[in-house]
Chain length 337, copies 4
């Protein structure tokens, strides 16, 4: 961290800042420029919040030099992390496709979706039992009944499952029935929930919040790793911007950026970003070509009757066609499906 | 709601849409334009999600006509709601100032802050016991001990108190010690938490999420009212934009917009928006001049040693000076402090 | 267009709106819902601005139904437009790569860049002679001297050239020396400039403004087509968001969205979006996999000494490696380079 | 400026960076931290672009320490600038209100608007003769005829006038007929235009682009001052965000932020930000309470028949009522109207 002093800040103010830095256990390193003095803080600023130094007299700004995350970063863990689960590896050679309906609606719906998804070559079945909805009047999910359905159906088709946990209190319940626990975009900074999934022995699929920076995504992952759970999969699902033709803006750059700074695997959710099934294929291809380790795709046997997000769900035959294309683009990336 | 058909969509597709609308219990009303047919859906579209109709063949788009909230809206509740608590009224003639430190750090800190706040004329003491922080390495609050401190100090000074509840499980605990329960920006769409505070008998201060539209803010308030708790105070605290000189962008328009569409009181938090104490006075004045019913301001006896957000906290003497100005601008608005 | 009346707006107000609609030469079509009356406006609302109807008493909102563009849209021009120039076709089977330095700095620099670009298989040489820079103290380009250099060098290597025109007054000058005229992101809504390039016989590369929606991009293209120039190439180059690890956010969805609504070819500029060379390969691959017809890539023989945007420029050897990968991904899309 | 080296960058790479810094005429100042080396660049980095150093081997990032503007900044010009024109002072004690229609439509319309504006106490008449419109099918303004009308009408009422220049070629023409030249939001980074208005002897009203940072606004003003014209008035008019209930988000913080870093006067345009007349009063009050030196307000004698932006225009009687309120809030700020 660097403290930039104001134009004309005198010796007394500089000394005061240096002394405050010392109080927090850091060393100060002065550099007097033509117009301003800057003071380098020597020590690991990630573990101590020194932002309040900006409030000292004569200080103009505090500039962070190091990235604020540690466990998820590559500096001390250069090799890629591979999340392993029952023979499926996320972050390794194979691109892993997770697919299924937005919400679990009924046995027949989930069964039909699982069948389609399995036949097309996906490895993980997705489906929400607890649905976070903007309006209290929208369908909120089947709850525990949905979890049980999911457990039965994924078993029958030999798929893994991923479903969302909404509150700290339900993490254990969800973990009982599902293989991968999803933290949704709206909960990316629900720190109590992050700590809870950090304590259990299940891979966590952490979705980027729609208005969170990549840095904050990595810091949220840091919460989980700090509790002891190292099996975190990052997921880009679109951020909120001014653009109106899509539901969100898939930040495809998030994939190479995460790969540069972190060792964790990264997947993309093209469905929530697009908000319309007609863009899902294009975004899926883009994500894999940008280096994603997998995808989370919404597939519904009958989108026009879906209780949630039908508009952005692929029909089984469209999904099957997409999987063929994905196989080809994965091969270009030196990977397989 | 209105269904816009694609250019050239034929009779069969139109009939299909009309029949689907009927299945959901609504009436369809056709209007054939020069280039396209549009189909009006007659009925209360707020209570049923019909977005999936967009997936029917021949449909180009679904356009919402009504605002999706009901209980918080002015259509059926034109008069302003006044939130009353122990003689303090929020949303009535008096502008209510809530002030105090970001986080409760120690008895002496809270005591000094409460004293300053009380002397300057504020009615409510703010202070966090559970702090949501982006980094797991930042100070996370004193927890229940902080709540107890808060209860003691606010009692002594004859102030009301407001503090944040982070998880559904701690709502009751927070309610035991505090007068107004705050839902923080990161939890505005934590629907389990919203439902929980909807069930208790305490006013709720609902902060707008930094990534949420005003419509979503009102829908989140709708969750609380739908559970039976009508004492909700809306709070604008800045949204996330591309601008970098401030921590967030205070959306001052949110105040008249909320006043137009909703009967609930609206306050502003200039401190989190500004991110720097030097803009707090200007934003506070702006919010009251735009019609806000109150403010939530960070005041710290010694900002340079604050464990959280010191940079944006006012010193007691600055706060006292601000209160004088606020009194004058409130008078211009036909109100008092 | 649809006029939504306020809750409780009476007969008199409705009649007034209907009569105003008639005055503008449109027909009104009433639809009385449970709570509100909506009035459909029958006629081509794209060519008349009726937004001010929102100011009539009793009106709640005006809702647009049709997309506001016409000449660039697919409704009346379903087939893809192919921009042809000296044997190069943009928007046809071959993916067209345009590459070169951000700014033309010297003959040796441009010569080295052109050589690298040609050898790697690009068809168009890019390079700016007039540079729009945020700061008046940054390098502003070589001007006409740069244009002449460009003309000489592209000739020698048998490349086409693309360079930016900044003002209406210099359009003719730029057209004299270059094959494709670029309209930069900052000028996407410089309507005088758009009209000027609409009058000349040269393909136009229209970059999306960093603050503009896809709809506005298409409307800006409409300005050019309306003047008679149909050879417009759309270019996604990243939009401005809150994310800080990249210079802009490449909106990869813009590619399939433009393809859906417009018949014009679409390319992407991964370099300006990324702001760092290390993400350029990933974004380039993503754009082609999402269906882009080409790329505009910054390549510099010695990025560390570049006078502009060196940070995001690829060295020749990196570009050559990228071209191989692009060839493979183009093949997956059924295209070649 | 500070160069942050990568974790583990060795002596050779550090020496290379130091030597490159020397080549550009700056001194390097090393600071070796626990994990990384940082290199301070001593000298005025505002006048030289050193961003490309980021491309040197071993460099992680370049961090700017100084604000990149100089002439518009307070460091070397601490006192407020007052823009004077025919007895009207902008940036002094009096708050200056500029009002009138969005577009000049006819003599009777402009006459009626001018009369209303004058009677209510405004000092400057606004009105556009050249209108930048997103769609080529929208009304584009009366051109020179409009300028002449404006000159006649403002003369008759003893008002000053402000109108927009769209292209460098028309700056002189506009300057011939008007007192203050406006640079619109879409042209904030039209650098050729900025240079042109920098050369003439007329105050310039520089509007912030809807997706430009305050820093970029100040840099655009720097372009004008660098050409010799010091009479620049900054104008906040709303930025583009994800919020949909208003046309743009008035960034009221821009006012105190500009006041902190720059000596130039700052006004606000509440009409374009709001996009609806019903929020204009609230935003106007907010802007003055936040410290603005004036306002630019749309007033139209008959908004429902306006050819442009009628929806956001105030009727004369609403404007008159607003002026009374503004007078009161100006008094609170120690100012008058």
């Amino acid at each position: 961290m660097i403290v930039v002093m104001q134009h004309g800040a005198g010796r007394e103010k500089i000394d005061h800042v240096v002394s405050e830095i010392g109080k927090h256990g850091f060393k100060a390193h002065l550099s007097e420029g033509q117009e301003r003095t800057i003071i380098g803080i020597v020590g690991d600023g990630r573990l101590t919040d020194l932002q309040h130094l900006e409030n000292l007299p004569g200080v103009d700004a505090i500039v962070k030099v190091l990235k604020p995350f540690k466990l998820v970063g590559r500096d001390f863990h250069p090799a890629d992390t591979v999340v392993k689960l029952d023979g499926v590896e996320i972050g390794a050679d194979k691109v892993v496709i997770m697919a299924g309906p937005c919400a679990i609606e009924s046995e027949s719906q989930l069964y039909a979706a699982a069948k389609a998804v399995k036949e097309a070559g996906a490895k993980v079945l997705r489906g929400g039992a607890f649905k976070p909805r903007s309006s209290p009047y929208s369908f909120q999910g089947l709850g525990e009944e949905g979890l049980k359905l999911m457990a039965r159906v994924k078993e029958e088709f030999g798929l893994l499952s991923v479903t969302e946990a909404l509150t700290p209190a339900t993490v254990e319940l969800v973990a009982e029935y599902t293989d991968i626990i999803q933290i949704g975009a709206r909960n990316m900074q629900n720190f109590g929930l992050l700590r809870e999934v950090g304590k259990i022995d299940r891979p966590v699929l952490l979705k980027r919040g729609m208005m969170n920076t990549v840095e904050e995504l990595l810091l949220s992952a840091e919460y989980i790793l700090a509790e002891g759970n190292g099996r975190v999969i990052l997921c880009e699902r679109g951020i909120r911007t001014f653009e109106k033709y899509t539901r969100a803006t898939l930040d495809v750059s998030c994939i190479p950026v995460c790969k540069r700074y972190s060792h964790l695997p990264v997947i993309a959710d093209p469905s929530h970003a697009a908000g319309s099934w007609s863009y899902v294929a294009g975004l899926s291809m883009a994500a894999i070509a940008a280096g994603a380790d997998g995808l989370l795709v919404e597939v519904h046997p009958d989108p026009a009757s879906a209780l949630s997000d039908g508009k952005q769900s692929l029909r089984p035959e469209k999904f099957q066609a997409l999987m063929k294309q994905l196989k080809a683009v994965a091969a270009v990336m030196g990977r397989s499906l």
